[in-house]
Symmetry: C2
DNA sequence: GGGCTATTTCCTGTCGACAATATGTGCAAT
DNA sequence: ATTGCACATATTGTCGACAGGAAATAGCCC
């Protein structure tokens, strides 16, 4: 890399936007796995990259740390949070529960006009699947479920669920990396069923669909992990 | 206040402990309602109080902001987060759900030695009730339920639940302020029942007790709010 | 040559200062 | 008296610099 690499933004940014933009960019890169888990995040290097002082960088890292996306090693450095496969079963439990609670809640409060946002997200999801764009699909999936959670109208659930879904984005990214373009049309159909059940205000059916949807995802990822861990380890590489 | 008020700590603190201690102290004061909701938190004044520069103060405030305990008004100041009574119903929903999930989970994984921590917390809770110490009781109650959540072994639930319980501490503080020393022995008994059900690994009974316990708390606080809002407002005070 | 210790180096934690912005205040005009 | 604008003030957002710790390196003793 050249010595005087121009910073990411040379236009003088507005006051207060520094932390925000760094946070948003790093967050996106972490979730997209552009920044691999465990990668060191050097404050000085980041400040050079973004063309600002270390202070806004530090604040962005602090926010990421609160989100659980990075780990701060005191007096040493900050690294991208690693993915702990041991805690996947609890993760799936929590995810399933939130799928259920938010879908049930949405079914209880569904109104015709409130379905618009959800349908829009579903359309984006379907488009991403059709375009074989795994990244866009994962993002649209998150937005779809968050939209349902917002309809349910409990901000505690929405916040917690959004966090779980974000954490899951990295795992899904690992998962879909293995079969790049064969994205599951099945999820699109399941989403459609959920929309129908919510719109019909059928709470119990929504609940069953949420469970089914969650089980689907959990099973697929567990299969992937089992397959992956079953593969012979290349001892020579160490 | 004197001009050269000595700072809270004059001993030179160890590197990295600045942010941590400020965070801990402010957090405690906010949860104990020593710092009233809406109180302004001035960085300069805090830096004078704690005898350190604004930087560690800012980082502590940032962490509190991530916890939802303070609200940052951009380019203006930071205030202690207000209590939004409108969002109490969703809060109670979430709290009840987490009571249930963690108690069920604990009942599924109960082992004789794992009950020790829970019993210890319950003893502290009972002692606080006997001593008519509302603050200690609220804190012990939180620790009791977090201990159950930890036995359940799902860190996602534990984290979320702990956050909910913390947020509830301020509401409970409002509540118990009204009848200072008449602390409900009833909760002690309910806790005992829960311990027994968990130890017996009776999941369904644990669940029922969790629901009952949650309903109890919700009802009492709702009564309190209804009573409070029903009281005539002293217009002269404005 | 190997293990222990001193030194160096890199990076973070903290500091004081400056710049930008929002609120409050005073004045003038209607 | 009230509204609008300019100014003053207070508080945050950002910066560059320095100091303290931990890992990496070099030196020393065996």
């Amino acid at each position: 890399m050249a010595k005087n690499e121009p910073a990411e933004t040379d236009i003088p940014r507005t006051r207060g936007s520094g932390t925000q933009s760094v946070y948003t960019i790093l967050r996106r890169e972490i979730l997209a796995m552009t920044l691999a888990p465990g990668s060191p995040l050097d404050e000085v290097r980041l400040s050079e990259r973004f063309g600002m002082s270390r202070t806004p960088i530090r604040e962005a890292l602090l926010r990421l740390s609160a989100d659980g996306l990075v780990t701060t090693l005191p007096n040493r450095n900050t690294i991208v949070a690693t993915i702990d496969f041991a805690s996947l079963p609890p993760y799936f439990d929590a995810l399933t529960l939130m799928y259920r609670v938010t879908t049930r809640g949405a079914a209880m409060r569904a109104t015709p006009q409130a379905m618009g946002e959800i349908r829009k997200r579903q359309a984006e999801f379907a488009a991403a699947v059709a375009a074989h764009d795994a990244f866009a699909m994962i993002e649209a999936n998150r937005e779809f479920h968050v939209a349902i959670a917002e309809l349910a109208g409990n901000s505690y659930y929405t916040t917690f669920f959004a966090r779980l879904l974000d954490e899951g984005r990295r795992i899904l990214r690992l998962y879909y990396r293995t079969f790049d373009d064969r994205l599951p049309r099945q999820y699109v159909d399941e989403h459609e069923e959920m929309i129908a059940a919510i719109e019909a205000r059928d709470v119990e059916r929504s609940d069953r669909l949420a469970i089914k949807h969650a089980e689907q995802i959990v099973r697929q990822i567990q299969d992937y992990i089992a397959r992956d861990l079953g593969q012979p380890i290349d001892l020579a590489a160490s």
